[in-house]
Symmetry: C2
Amino acid sequence: MPDTVQPTEVLPRYIQLASILRGRITSGELQPNQLIPSERQLEEIYAVSRPTIRQALDLLERQGLVYRAHGRGTFVSPQKLQKPISELTSFTEDMKRRGIEPGQKLLEIGMVEPPRDVCRQLELAYPHAPILRIERLRLGDGTPMGLQTSYYHLPDGCEITAADLEQYGSIYRLLEDKLHIIPTEAGETLEVTLATPAEAVLLQIKPGSPLLLSERTTYSQERRPVEFVKILYRGDRYTYTAKLTR
Amino acid sequence: MPDTVQPTEVLPRYIQLASILRGRITSGELQPNQLIPSERQLEEIYAVSRPTIRQALDLLERQGLVYRAHGRGTFVSPQKLQKPISELTSFTEDMKRRGIEPGQKLLEIGMVEPPRDVCRQLELAYPHAPILRIERLRLGDGTPMGLQTSYYHLPDGCEITAADLEQYGSIYRLLEDKLHIIPTEAGETLEVTLATPAEAVLLQIKPGSPLLLSERTTYSQERRPVEFVKILYRGDRYTYTAKLTR
DNA sequence: CTATCTATCTGGTAATGACCACTGAAACCG
DNA sequence: CGGTTTCAGTGGTCATTACCAGATAGATAG
């Protein structure tokens, strides 16, 4: 990691500067609640203007790495909540962050006529021509964690096959790299249900066991609904975590 | 709502401008996906400089009201997700937003020695001197929705009594107005549990019914843990909603 | 010695000017 | 007519300058 801001770099200076400061924080050089150099000092240290400094600090503040106090200075946040803001992650990323080896078992993939509730979430007319449906068993360290059913409404001409899914590993990576669809926003709801016999078999639990049902609609960068996902998590295995800000 | 930006106002201009634009969007004057005036046009319309315009638009973009496309312009977001970002709300606010009349029944209030898990969340030594504990039954339209146990670690000399709670209605309002503690950040986890006999009686459900257990630690503006809350929601009555962004 | 004032830090807001990168449509050329 | 180039307009980045407002410590007056 360079410790100076290079005008020649492709990345904007404020992002470079944010990376440098983030590094100094996560490395432990700057301790929690420690006062960091003032904006005018940073101006001299890194030879960039104050608006740029402020843009970098805005970024770090939104990421929860620093907090500012008018008249006193800018401080390093206690690392506790330095994690994501309210992150949009895939199951795969989520598991890795918890130190659990993610896995999956493809149960079914194909084109189906979307049911009414799915049409509503994806803002489609009902009935609607078949769209992509994927049903997967999600594994954590080899044992079943959840049962996921996803529907994708893709632009015309786009296709996802089982082979693609195999190759990219993550649907999100596939969406981004191949189809240039970048999920940027999602609405999620969580509620409690009880396992049906069929679900119980797949998840290797008793019928009637409590499950955490997550429903998520994901939107592309143009705010079009792209994906609707239902995941049934085993109540005894899974904890949902979020970070809230005001 | 004034439609010009006044330098004399107490509020910063970029916030005034954001309010004006927000009003034009929520009133329906600006339709979803409609192109709004360019930053240079807004500069003339509202007689403020471009950095101020951009600050206002940054705000609206983070709030999900508009989205920007490099080289094309700024557009109104479809209102679907115009709701809060990932809001830090109290049970009271939450219920009101759903159109349900919130209510509560105070079960117990007093100073107790915090158990180990509470100490850990509030970053206190264990054992620790007694701190404030409040146990309440949360009602929605008069029927039990959840059972809430809260612990507060307040600065020396601060006190909360049952009378205070009655007067202010919301603990958060009390914290802000009386103690000048503004909750700004919280970590929340959600998981599934089953009702114990005691809990079942209070919530008027059968023992063993599935519950949604929410645990939240709230931090003040100085990132000190202030509050630790456990809420057991009735699984058949409550749905948790969140908005995620990347 | 205490309480107040003030100088001077801090971050917050704002204007001005400049250049870059991306987009899309009009103008151009084969 | 069809494909290409050009260019004007958009948001993205950055420097410079200025003043305001909250916080704090040292100077000052009581």
